[in-house]
Amino acid sequence: MRSVIKIIWKMDPTRMILAVAVAVVTGIVPFFYVTAYAHFIGSAESFLGQQGMGTFLSILIQFLVFGLFNFLGQTVLNYLCQEIQITLQAGISREVLQKVNRLPYAMLEQKEQQDNIYRMLHSASGEMSAGLMALFMLLRLVINVISVFLMLVQFSLWVGFVLILAFIPMVLAAVKNGEEDYSAFVEVEKAERWMQYFQSVLLQKKYAAELRMYDCAGFFREKWKNEYENMSGSFLRTKRKMYFRVKKNSLFFQIPIFALLFYMGYLAQSQQLDGEYFSALVSQILLIGSSLSWSLVSVLSALQRCRLSMKAYDGFMAEREERQEEGEKLREPIREIRFEDVSFHYPQCEEQVLSHMSFTMNAGKKYALVGENGAGKSTVIKLILGLYDDYDGNIYINGVERRRISNLYEQVAVVFQDFAQYEMTLEENLTLGNSCEEKRKHLDRWMRMLWQEEEIHRVFPKGYETELGYLGETGKDLSGGQWQRIALVRALLRKGNFYILDEPTAALDPMAEAELYQNFQRMMEHHGGIIITHRLGAAKLSDEILLIDHGSIKEQGTHEELMQEQGSYFAMFQAQGGLYQ
């Protein structure tokens, strides 16, 4: 709780102070009410005689004060809390995004971390400000109790303490309830995740064609229904238990209050307590009693949720960061990449993806990585790029250990297998914000290399300003191959000129594919690079081919050398090329 207050204090101190003040003032409302009301009833007799204009006015003024606090206090408090929430939302998002950028990439590949970030961006600020609001409600309730207590004490110290004694166990029970409820809902959440999954299967485009083809929507509806029954069953069970407990407690704890009522009635009848105060006090005690037994539950569960989401937030902000500032900078283009006995397995997975791999690559030469799916080709790329740090052995780039280089990205241009499809304008997609006159020229050149003039006009009616994807009003979607060519142009525009291409041809038709390979050969002519491919025909054009099998290099050499070896490469080439004879 303390850290929520700290965060909010940092982001919006003025409103925070104001809100506390308003909460305190509205807390004393019962005090005003009781005074004004007692005064009113007490002096009612005097009106009968048509006298007492002065009392009349003073009563009105008292009620006016009470009314101001009562009617406007809540509105102002709501307003302040919402203002704080608005500030908080923007603030938290900013902090979280900055933090994401400092995290090692490997962490972003974890599902839990993704969920965590999503929650942090979407619901954390809401839960935090709800927690704050709950805190204010709590403050107000406490002041409520205290002010009523102080009034009671005026008549009888004893009665005042009975009241406090009655309230304490109620609060404690509510605290306990809040905790139990929260843990009970974990089960519900699990079923909810399944439900949401089946729901998306039933409703989303991605699955629509298959569901119709195989007529299996009923199957998934049934699955959904099972999970739903599951979920609603345990939800209602939990709720039933909760209501029962809350009501049982509240009845139990209200007994002293009821006793108090009778005792106060006795005091009033025996003239030890003024009748007018009696009725004002009773109404306030009952009001506070019911809000303690009821709204306390929701206040506390909001606090609990807030505490948990704060804990998640703090935990996230404390995650290990990468990017040591003291790392070395590469001052020249990549000359050499050397793997020395590198072994690697993904975090949370025992299986070795690479084992004892050693090789050297030199700039200016073209390398092809080939091999079966899952052999470890893409992992090699990810390690070169420093997306994972936890490998055994050493990777040297220009003689410097990879882990110590801080600016590698300036020297490379990469096209991933699952290239990003950013939904923004074509120009933004290509230049990512740093566009200049000179870049434009390159841009035009590369675009024309990969796209035909006619196609550019057809696909991008507004030129570089064309919105890609569906986010804009006039957005349009592109085919996989078209997106891929955008990713290629994007890579070509990079300053770095060591090219790394992960199977770029997956979605290309034969003509585009052929053209592309030719372009790549030209591109890599001077600077070299690495290409991962399943099309062995393309691998053939490389200066050196590395065949990777089960995480280590099985065959290495030029196309001719490997063909003479008559090993795995030869077999694969025959299988693929045989069709073209």
């Binding site: 500030t87 993704q114 009725s279 109404s283």
Partner: protein
């Protein structure tokens, strides 16, 4: 109100007991609430006026309090229960509705948005029903009876209370409009923000964004969107707060006026001292009820009304009648034929397919090749009966069949899915009516056995990492997808070459597995691997939506055309 009626109907149908119980509970609650007010007045009267039996009244008051507390718990529970039931009924209705959508509807982004909004709107339905019920059967009834009480005491009181309400009614309309306006203003901003945030953290973007050193670019975009949204929200909040303060002031004035009226009435001797406290209690509770109703329930109902509207818009939309539900008759020798078919997407400006004519006989294999965007996948979908053609006919054994022939085809899509159910179920969904024996036969093929042995719980392993199962490799997934299509023993198969990268050895295996259907069925294979096309009976070359060449590999290689160009583009690497 219309939606309320429809939901009531659904709720009455699916859970009659609970639905009827809730208003009954509400009425009891109102009675208890009235009892509380009356008894409280009586108690005050007893003490101040000094007559009447205080202890009896106190005892009754305690009983009413207990009853109120219990009733509150009960009705809350039943609201939860009803809520659950309504969500289930509405979801089910939505699922069924969406299932009736022609596939083409999913191509329309607006419609996809509507499905998404409906999906998020489901949750609002239960809350909407509940708030309306509370308003109608609890708050409304309570206010009505209180008004009657005030009328009885003195009509002047009634008028004052009513007067204080007026600004609330105005505010109510203004607030909703400004809220909706704000939502509309920021909806695109928010979607862009979502996207830009994802560009920084989501798996499909993160590594590329980092390698491109573009994080700060996206960060700046997020900042801009965030401050824009902040501003819009703040504006709406300010406007809303202004109204809120106005309304509260009017309540305050009304309250003061009532005190004034009460004093006036006392002066006139029209009400006694005892009644003052009753009027005071009634006034405070009526204000708190009004406030709860307007600021809590009505506002909630109104904001969820929008979400509910989105759900019912989808539910109530008439679908194109599919009266041609008649089953296609399969014969021993089947023919699927397209005659002069042209097709364009609903929002499209150009025909994607132009004048396509083709015939597939059972037992024949056809390869469909062509450049990206030439319309291959669309042709597959028209042939399978997913997309009704704009012009021309789709003929099944020479007879016109508009949409109802999905069951005559089996289809492996380019973007097939793995589902988070067991491996066996992933295959079984291909045809859920298949007898067990055949299911076993498909599961017991060597390819499937090989996959199963690698899984922790064999064929019962759930295919999803997220839900505690495992993920298959790309090649394994493809085999499962093919096995799934095998379950459905259709006379025709369409294979849209999966674009997922697959290594050459496995690729050959898979292709041969697909073409192996040849013996019994007709096969249309959409592919970029021209080499594969040499293995089929007939090749169709598609260019810009037209079939420009057709024939066997040998025939087409003799022509100087598109096919030769494509073939040589690829074969040059293997010389």
């Amino acid at each position: 109100m219309r939606y309320f009626g429809r939901m009531m109907k659904l709720s009455l149908r699916d859970q009659t007991g609970v639905t009827l119980l809730i208003p009954a509970l509400n009425i009891v609650q109102v009675l208890l609430e009235l009892g509380y007010t009356m008894l409280f007045g009586a108690v005050t009267n007893d003490v101040v006026g000094g007559q009447g039996n205080l202890y009896v009244h106190l005892a009754l008051l305690v009983l009413v309090l207990i009853g109120r507390d219990l009733g509150n718990g009960l009705s809350n529970y039943y609201f939860d229960k009803q809520n659950m039931g309504v969500t289930r009924s509405v979801s089910h209705a939505l699922f069924e509705k969406i299932q009736g959508y022609p596939l083409l509807y999913f191509e329309d982004p607006k419609r996809r948005d509507r499905i998404n909004s409906a999906q998020t709107g489901i949750e609002a339905c239960g809350a909407y029903l509940m708030t309306l019920e509370v308003i109608l059967s609890f708050q409304g009834l309570y206010l009505l009876s209180m008004s009657a009480y005030f009328m009885a005491v003195d009509p002047l009181l009634f008028v004052v209370i009513l007067g204080a309400l007026l600004p609330e009614l105005f505010r109510f309309r203004v607030k909703n409009r400004s809220q909706e306006q704000m939502e509309q203003n920021i909806v695109t901003q928010r979607r862009r923000l979502d996207h830009d945030e994802q560009a920084i953290y989501a798996q499909k973007f993160a590594k590329e964004t980092r390698v491109l050193e573009a994080v700060s670019f996206f960060e700046a975009r997020c900042q801009a969107a965030l401050s824009h949204i902040k501003q819009e929200r703040r504006q709406a909040l300010h406007k809303d707060t202004k109204w809120s303060i106005l309304v509260q002031c009017s309540y305050l004035l009304g309250f003061i006026a009532i005190i004034g009226v009460v004093i006036f009435l006392v002066m006139q001797g029209r009400i006694g001292v005892g009644e003052i406290s009753m009027v005071m209690v009634a006034t405070t509770t009526i204000y708190s009820t009004l406030r709860e109703m307007f600021e809590g329930h009505l506002l909630q109902a109104d904001s969820s009304r929008y979400a509910v509207k989105l759900v019912f818009e989808v539910l109530e939309e008439p679908l194109p009648a599919d009266d041609e539900e008649e089953n296609v008759k399969t014969e021993t020798e089947n023919v699927l034929e397209l005659r002069h078919v042209s097709f364009r997407y609903p929002e499209g400006t150009e025909d994607v397919l132009k004048e396509i004519s083709l015939r597939i006989r059972q037992g024949e294999t056809i390869a469909l090749v062509g450049e990206n965007g030439s319309g291959k996948t669309t042709l597959g979908k028209v042939l399978a009966g997913f997309y009704p053609p704009e012009q021309g006919d789709v003929l099944w054994n020479g007879k016109q069949c508009a949409e109802g022939h999905l069951q005559s085809c089996s289809y492996v899509f380019q973007d097939y899915n793995m589902y988070a159910v067991s491996l066996a179920e992933n295959i079984r969904i291909g045809d859920l009516t298949t007898p067990k024996a055949r299911e076993r036969a498909v599961l017991d093929t060597p390819e499937m056995r090989e996959i199963c042995t690698g899984l922790p719980q064999g064929e019962n392993t759930i295919i999803s990492k997220e839900f505690g199962g495992v993920e298959l490799s790309g090649g394994q997934e493809q085999r499962v997808a093919i096995a799934r299509s095998d379950m459905k023993q259709a006379p025709f198969y369409i294979f849209d070459e999966p674009t997922a990268a697959i290594d050459p050895m496995r690729e050959m295996d898979l292709m041969k597995q697909m073409l192996g259907k040849k013996r019994q069925a007709g096969v249309l294979l959409i592919t970029h691997r021209i080499g594969i096309a040499t293995l089929v009976d007939q090749i169709l070359v598609l260019k810009e939506g037209r079939i420009v060449q057709r024939g066997s590999h040998q025939e087409l290689m003799r022509e100087e055309g598109e096919y030769k160009r494509l073939f040589e583009a690829q074969s040059q690497w293997y010389q």
